[in-house]
């Protein structure tokens, strides 16, 4: 079936952090000229060379699903958004380096995507705390991207970078800090480009080369329900 050939990576984050600009930069290698609010979900495709430079090099299409909205949306928006979280192979968490709250909201975003059939506070979370162990054994690879790097004043740069280092530890994920209006940050050969490539390679490996039934633990009954209704017709 066609769905078996697809690689789906979610791009999550608060509204206004720069997800659409980031996705445009990753897929078109160009800066997005006129960013506007994303309604619903916008998808773009990145052509990625798995294991570039080695004899096993193969080209894959990675779908980047940029889901718009804020974490405090109405519950009708949250339940509609959950439709996009089916069969996810990787998650990119985007936060704004100049806005602390967008980083804090990433915990709730990741929980919303990974536990989409439980309430936003979920079984894992109690009083807003989250369980680090849950992220350590998480089957879905995460990547943390901080945007608007150029807008941090120089004297605050160290504090911000320490804070994001803690964040990436919590999520057990790599972190990249960049400015979405400047392609230089992801130019070939930079450490950012290497981290990005490694992340996508990891996603592809998890998808194709580890056919582990425990990989399906992130998915819920909802997917089976969808299959049933598809077969009705």
């Amino acid at each position: 079936m066609a769905s078996l050939d697809r690689i789906k990576v979610l791009v999550l984050g608060d509204s206004g952090v720069g997800k659409s600009s980031l996705v445009h930069l990753l897929c078109q290698n160009q800066v997005l000229g006129n960013p506007s609010w994303t309604v619903g979900c916008s998808v773009d495709v990145r052509v990625h060379d798995y294991k570039e430079g080695t004899p096993e090099e193969k080209t894959f299409y990675i779908e980047l699903w940029d889901v718009g909205g804020s974490i405090g949306s109405a519950s009708s928006v949250i339940s509609t958004r959950a439709v996009f979280y089916n069969s996810v192979n990787g998650i990119i968490l985007v936060h704004d380096l100049t806005n602390k709250k967008s980083s804090q909201n990433l915990y709730r975003w990741s929980l919303e995507a990974l536990n989409k059939d439980s309430s936003p506070t979920g079984v894992i979370v109690s009083n807003g705390d989250y369980d680090r162990e849950q992220f350590a054994e998480n089957p879905v690879p995460l990547l943390l991207i901080g945007t608007k790097f150029d807008q941090i004043p120089d004297n605050k740069r160290n504090d911000v970078l320490t804070r994001t280092a803690f964040l990436s530890e919590d999520f057990n994920a790599e972190e990249i800090n960049l400015d979405c209006t400047n392609p230089r940050y992801l130019a070939a050969g930079t450490s950012n480009a290497v981290k990005l490539s490694r992340f996508f390679d990891k996603v592809i490996e998890k998808r194709y080369f580890t056919r582990d039934p425990s990989q399906m633990t992130g998915f819920t009954d909802r997917k089976r329900f969808n299959f049933k209704s598809l077969h009705y017709d």
Binding site: G40, C41, V43, V45, V47, G72, S75, V83
Partner: protein, 455 residues
Amino acid sequence: MSFLVDSVIMVTSQVLFFGFGWLFFMRQLFKDYEVRQYVVQVVFSVTFAFSCTMFELIIFEILGALSSSSRYFHWKLNLYVILLVLIFVVPFYIGYFVVSNIRLLQRQRLLFACMVWFTFMYFFWKLGDPFPILSPKHGILSIEQLISRVGVIGVTLMALLSGFGAVNCPYTYMSYFLRNVTVSDILALERRLLQTMDMIVSKKKRIAMTRRQMYQRGEDQNKQTGFWGMIKSVTSTQTSSENLALIQQEVDALEELSRQLFLETVDLQATKERIEYSKTFQGKYFNFLGYFFSIYCVWKIFMATINIVFDRVGKTDPVTRGIEITVNYLGIQFDVKFWSQHISFILVGIIIVTSIRGLLITLTKFFCAISSSKSSNVIVLVLAQIMGMYFVSSVLLMRMSMPLEYRSIVTEVLGELQFNFYHRWFDVIFLVSALSSILFLYLAHKQSPEKHMAL
């Protein structure tokens, strides 16, 4: 001596209101943003504090607390401060932050902010011309000039909000208007949405593949030499790029469709949640309230029409009228003065609390819906301006709900305004707003079942 005590009481209460405004700002409005400019928070809390102080002074007037001379002094002081804030401080900062957002004008921020403020003052002044709000004996720099214009803007806002609220409230509460939505409807829409997304993905894959081939072929093309080589390369790229443009158009159309489907699904989900809510006990209670409010709304529209058509201005307030009715027609005797004071206190108190609460909730909803990280400062200041003008005109209009002996202080402090004009203006705008809300809601309600049937 008593003046000092009264002043201390007033200042303490103002500090309390300021703190409340500060907390509201931090917890509700700026929940998802970082406060970088504390000026905005301070200005908002100051506006809130002084508006609430005005209400407090009315309550003190009714209760007879504090001495009347100190009350009068504080009224005047409060009024001057609030006018200062609403006309000078807030518009200036709005101009300043708007100018800061525009990159071109960054350097001369102050200059442009002053220019914006002068334009605002010009239009503000011009506002007074078409309205018969002043008697000619007032000078040009008197306080009445400013209050009258602030009053016009505020009364318009109040009437618009209350007209829309009066119609929207029963529409939202009553379950009669809820369309029937089943789980399978929502699932069908979601399936369509996902199918559309899949189609977008497959087309984008084709575009990416074609682009990659073009890029690779572009490198090879540089090696092609000769006349025929050139022509061949031209034709092949042209068909590829034409194809690309076509596919891109299809993708744009599909993306628009996916957005619409998403919004429809959200709408259906919201309706389904409301249906579930209406089956609970709370929902049934609100449904009952909805019927009650719809009768109240119809009555208000009726009264507004009567007032305009018959050019009637109410002379007595509801409290005195109510007491008259009970004493004269029902023959119940009681101490009129005592009860009049207490009933007007309760009535005015309820009006104040519900209008403050209603306004703050509406402001929060509005702010969360339209603000972004860039414009949050400007929007909060605009909301502070609206809030200040709203509260000032509440005081103006509340005069009508109070018995004569309490009205005098309001009349004295605000000067000789044409209060009747404001009530008439309120009725007109209320009627216009309520009727257009009914029309708008009717059209919106009619449109959605048709969309729903088409699936």
